[in-house]
Symmetry: C2
Subunit: 275 residues, 2 copies
DNA sequence: GTTGACCCTCCGGTGGCCGGAGGGTGCAAG
DNA sequence: CTTGCACCCTCCGGCCACCGGAGGGTCAAC
């Protein structure tokens, strides 16, 4: 142990860690894993043996698809507990991803035929109503977390005030067309319902809707969207304005997502002229 | 059903399919999902209702992280059987990915401390020898498929000629430093072994090596690389030339990767001067 | 005729690198 | 002392699958 700071060239370090030279350059550029020494005249990098474990940890985390920003957080963590926690968090994310994947697989087979999904459509005039609600610009990637949060709050209010109405949400066109848009989560209440500090009181406008009921997990809602939207485009006239989802049976009512029932309400101009 | 070819604007189509407008633009650009009609004067796109199922299939496949090139193959498939096969193939890939992930997770915990891995190192002079072998430039992403292929062939030869030598492979420095490099898979034979058409006869040069034995799956080989390489860098002098791996117990001998034994042979200039 | 929602194209950026061009460095053999 | 060669450097552009925004055209209603 005379030479604890034995240093190696980038090429040798690459062989020790199985990180490519390009990758090591990159990690140096972004200051994730800087060489112990850089020769000021030649610019040659020198890595120390002691950096090998760090490099290998980075490699392992990258193999788990962890973004470099998170990797940085892990290796910069002040103690092992923090480090551990950061990794655990990522594993939870991966697990979620995995579940999502499995669901996608499950619903894939039936789509392979490219046959359009069919489902019964009814028409409904919905009068204006008042609701406890939250209206916010939400990014599509954040929608499920946002909903979880908001509907938990609305669920608590439903309990407190003994409200049995079906909660729902309205999604602006922008939300689907762009990557983010206004979303309004709502829980219908009586017109004289008192205000509550945790959410807003929102008035939802009346409208004529084509309505379809989707049974099953939210992952497969897009098929109902396709079916209902196709129907509307064919037989009615699409009206501008947000699509509404009514969570007839949702996460608040059942833990088994296959029993969920979601009503999709697509705004239309007028009742179908044909069909 | 009078108007089977009802067409919608890109924004409407976006709502039907939950694909963002940007995404639809992109799919048009790369000609994956072209609108049924493009107004020549305004450039406005018009999609047909009949395109919804295709769009949804694409969406599902993308959710499964399928690259667009493969997606294209799926939707262009002439029949359902071909389509099915392409999807099945992707699922197999995903499954592999999953296994890899699980292994990475398993070996992660012990690395979180950043303590260097230790393992006993011995020194060995290896005389030149002749071998059945395959030498090729291989990309790192393709290495496991390549090895599977080549070692299956070498295993068959071992059976045919009753060869009991331990197979191995030599990896050029370039293979690790860049993303691809020369790899030589070999199965040692007697000097008078007859040629075989399926592989080459290769002479491997003599050399002095630092050797360490890794027990466990190949996924964790990098730790042995780090440990051995660090040792060599500290106590010996690294010699140029390919690192060799000897598959003492490998996929040909056991199906349980945790029982694998791999000898890592790192070329050195001379025996350690210290330690 | 004006508003406002919608649509277009083009350009640049993201993350995590790879590939190559063009050129300097370090060491050994001739 | 040159030559050669392996190694190293930086810089620039490209990959994938889009996103974001600028700058500007289109369409239907009021």
């Amino acid at each position: 142990m005379w030479d604890m700071t034995a240093s190696v060239t980038i090429g040798e370090f690459s062989r020790l860690t199985h990180l490519s030279v390009k990758t090591l350059h990159h990690y140096h550029d972004i200051d994730l894993l800087a060489p112990a020494l850089v020769d000021p005249s030649s610019g040659y990098r020198r890595y120390e043996i002691a950096q090998v474990p760090t490099a290998q940890l980075i490699r392992r985390l990258r193999e788990l698809q962890m973004p470099l920003a998170q990797v940085r957080a892990v290796i910069d963590a002040p103690d092992i507990a923090t480090r551990d926690e950061a990794v655990r968090l990522h594993l939870v994310q991966m697990e979620r991803e995995l579940v999502r994947t499995q669901q996608a697989v499950a619903s894939l087979r039936s789509m392979l035929t490219l046959a359009p999904t069919e489902l019964p459509v009814e028409y409904r005039f919905v009068p204006a109503f008042r609701a406890y609600g939250v209206r916010e610009r939400v990014h599509r990637d954040d929608i499920s977390a946002w909903c979880e949060n908001v509907f938990t709050r609305l669920g608590a209010l439903a309990g407190r005030y003994g409200i049995s109405a079906v909660p729902g949400a309205a999604y602006s066109d922008e939300f689907f067309a762009d990557e983010a848009g206004e979303v309004t989560a709502f829980l219908p209440v009586a017109p004289d319902q008192p205000a509550d500090e945790s959410v807003d009181l929102i008035d939802l406008p009346a409208g004529l809707f084509a309505v379809a009921l989707h049974r099953g997990s939210f992952e497969e809602l897009d098929r109902a969207y396709g079916a209902l939207g196709s129907h509307v485009a064919e037989f009615c006239e699409i009206a501008p304005g947000p699509v509404r989802e009514l969570y007839v049976v949702g996460p608040g009512d059942s833990t088994d997502s296959s029993t969920f029932q979601t009503e999709l309400c697509w705004p239309i101009q007028q009742l179908p002229t044909r069909g």
